[in-house]
């Protein structure tokens, strides 16, 4: 132990200190603030207020419903797209182009991406023009300020995560396993069901968890696409810190969100754990 202690300390002291000072300490401050009054007295009042207020329950419900729908749509679109990129595309330049197309949005800020949808989904935006042009609707539909609008924006922003996660898992499936499955009499559909899908499931789960968490904690996209008509949980937190200036109550909201998200991550992690005999 004494042999490794010195180099470990040398290597870790600075990063650890940095994280204690600028990550753990701030989080601790928030936790303490959430459990105290403005005067510094210990209290559970902030949490009780969250529990008692049906408005918060509504916001939570909306937030998690949007998060779940976003995840579902991302999975339904993302799995086929990942399959297409890994299994169907044979022409490498085209796949390269597709991967670049998938990654460019990740490298531009949420704000730019959401702004694009603000323009597209407006009353006279391209989407409404297109739908009217196709004769599918007669008058412009309202997207901005609806959950559908937020959903379109969030799916757009989070789709690349799931495609990359599933695509990586699919690309790693050993072709010999598929050959073995076919050799043992499984049809292509049977091989997909019994071999490929189970082997890509950890990637799918990891991608879905990531998408769900980012969707639930998203701030910019809902803020821009809601037009002030829909409130999600992260907006409540932001309001407390930027306009209400109630750091104690804001802290309780932050901790609530954190605990809910981490609990869901833990549950999903348990579900997607590889089996052990």
């Amino acid at each position: 132990m004494s042999g490794t202690l010195r180099p470990v300390l040398l290597l870790c002291a600075l990063p650890a200190a940095f994280f204690v000072a600028f990550f753990l300490a701030p989080m601790a401050v928030v936790l303490i603030a959430s459990l105290t009054t403005a005067a510094g007295q210990p209290t559970f009042a902030h949490y009780l207020r969250i529990l008692a207020d049906t408005y918060h329950w509504d916001v939570l419900w909306v937030t998690f419903r949007i998060g779940a729908l976003t995840t579902l749509v991302c999975v339904l679109i993302g799995y086929p797209l990942a399959w297409y990129l890994v299994r169907i595309v044979k022409w490498r330049p085209w796949r390269r182009f597709c991967v670049i197309l998938l990654v460019v949005p990740l490298f531009t800020s949420n704000i730019v991406r959401s702004f694009g949808w603000m323009v597209l989904l407006g009353r006279n935006g391209l989407v409404n023009d297109g739908l009217i042009g196709l004769g599918l609707i007669e008058r412009p539909m309202r997207f901005l300020g609806t959950e559908l609008g937020i959903l379109i924006g969030l799916v757009y922003i989070l789709l690349p995560f799931i495609v990359l996660a599933v695509g990586n898992a699919l690309a790693k499936v050993d072709p010999a396993l598929e050959h073995a499955s076919a050799d043992l009499g499984a049809t292509p559909a049977g091989t997909f069901r019994t071999i490929i899908f189970p082997l890509s499931l950890p990637g799918l789960m990891a991608g879905a968890v990531m998408v769900f968490m980012l969707a639930v904690s998203a701030y910019v996209t809902p803020a821009l696409l809601s037009g002030g008509r829909i409130t999600v949980f992260s907006m409540l937190i932001f309001q407390q810190y930027s306009s209400v200036f109630d750091f104690n109550y804001g802290g309780a909201l932050s901790i609530t969100m954190l605990v809910l998200t981490l609990a869901l991550v833990a549950i999903a992690g348990r579900l997607s754990e590889p089996r052990r005999a």
């Binding site: 000072a21 300490a25 490498r92 323009v119 690349p160 690309a171």
Partner: protein, 262 residues
């Protein structure tokens, strides 16, 4: 049949991914004073207007400076931590790596709020250093995640060979370890840089009218006004992102979805 369905979904999804980017770049070229797509006429006037506005130029400079500084600090902190985690067995090793990775799964709004509250207690608010420490915290996991897998066991034998041949630890690091982890370090640093460059949720708590990053400035602006200048700013960030990605593809290769040889 199934394959046809997969193709249709995929083409639709690819179009969906491309659409906002194409629309923004297109709309930034319009000659009208409102956003129009397809653009009516072609002009770079909005890009000119943007570059003529000192507040945009300063936001671009601050964003760049912040991202560069945060990336450098994050690399300097993450690489030693990665070596310790990969090479030594010590108490608290798991805790250390999980703590360092946890900003990846933490809602940024929560962290931003926490840093603001904590910063007001210790006098570190609404300043460049206040922005910097927050950015370092959220981008360090990207460097760590890219470097850790490259510090493999095979590599360890190279380091032992180096030590056996008489190299001191620091010499071994620069001559043996660093060249082996270079590609991970480069891609990790690029992802870290980008994560800082595009951040809104964290920065927004610590910016002011004078000290603002480009995403925050955009965010505040589009909530009130929409004109082609915004499209030009957005267009510029899209073009920068596309250039970085093409460079990344040419240098380290982005073809992550290639199937294994059959």
């Amino acid at each position: 049949m199934v394959s046809a369905l997969v193709r249709i979904v995929s083409f639709a999804a690819l179009a969906y991914l491309a659409l906002p980017l194409v629309v923004l770049v297109g709309a930034s070229l319009t000659t009208t004073s409102f956003l129009a797509f397809p653009p009516q006429g072609l002009t770079l006037a909005w890009y000119g207007k943007m570059l003529g506005d000192p507040s945009y130029v300063s936001a671009f400079l601050i964003s760049t400076l912040l991202a560069v500084a945060a990336t450098i600090v994050a690399v300097l902190l993450a690489v030693p931590a990665a070596i310790a985690i990969a090479r030594y067995r010590f108490t608290g090793r798991g805790l250390l790596s999980e703590t360092l990775m946890s900003p990846l799964i933490l809602p940024h709004v929560v962290l931003g709020a926490a840093l603001l509250q904590y910063g007001s207690a210790i006098g570190l608010v609404r300043s460049f250093p206040a922005l910097l420490v927050g950015h370092v915290v959220i981008i360090m996991p990207f460097v760590l995640r890219a470097v850790l897998p490259q510090l493999s066991e095979d590599q360890r034998s190279l380091e032992e060979a180096s030590a056996d041949l008489g190299a001191r630890p620091l010499t071994t690091f620069f001559l043996v370890t660093l060249p082996q982890i270079r590609s991970g370090l480069v891609s990790g640093a690029i992802f870290a840089f980008i994560a800082s460059w595009i951040n809104v949720e964290l920065s927004i708590f610590n910016t002011t009218a004078e000290l603002t990053t480009i995403p925050v400035k955009l965010f505040n602006y589009v909530q009130y006004t929409i004109d082609p200048t915004i499209a030009a700013v957005s267009g510029l960030t899209i073009i920068v992102a596309a250039v970085v990605i093409v460079l990344l593809d040419l240098t380290i290769g982005l073809d992550v979805l290639s199937e294994r040889r059959r």
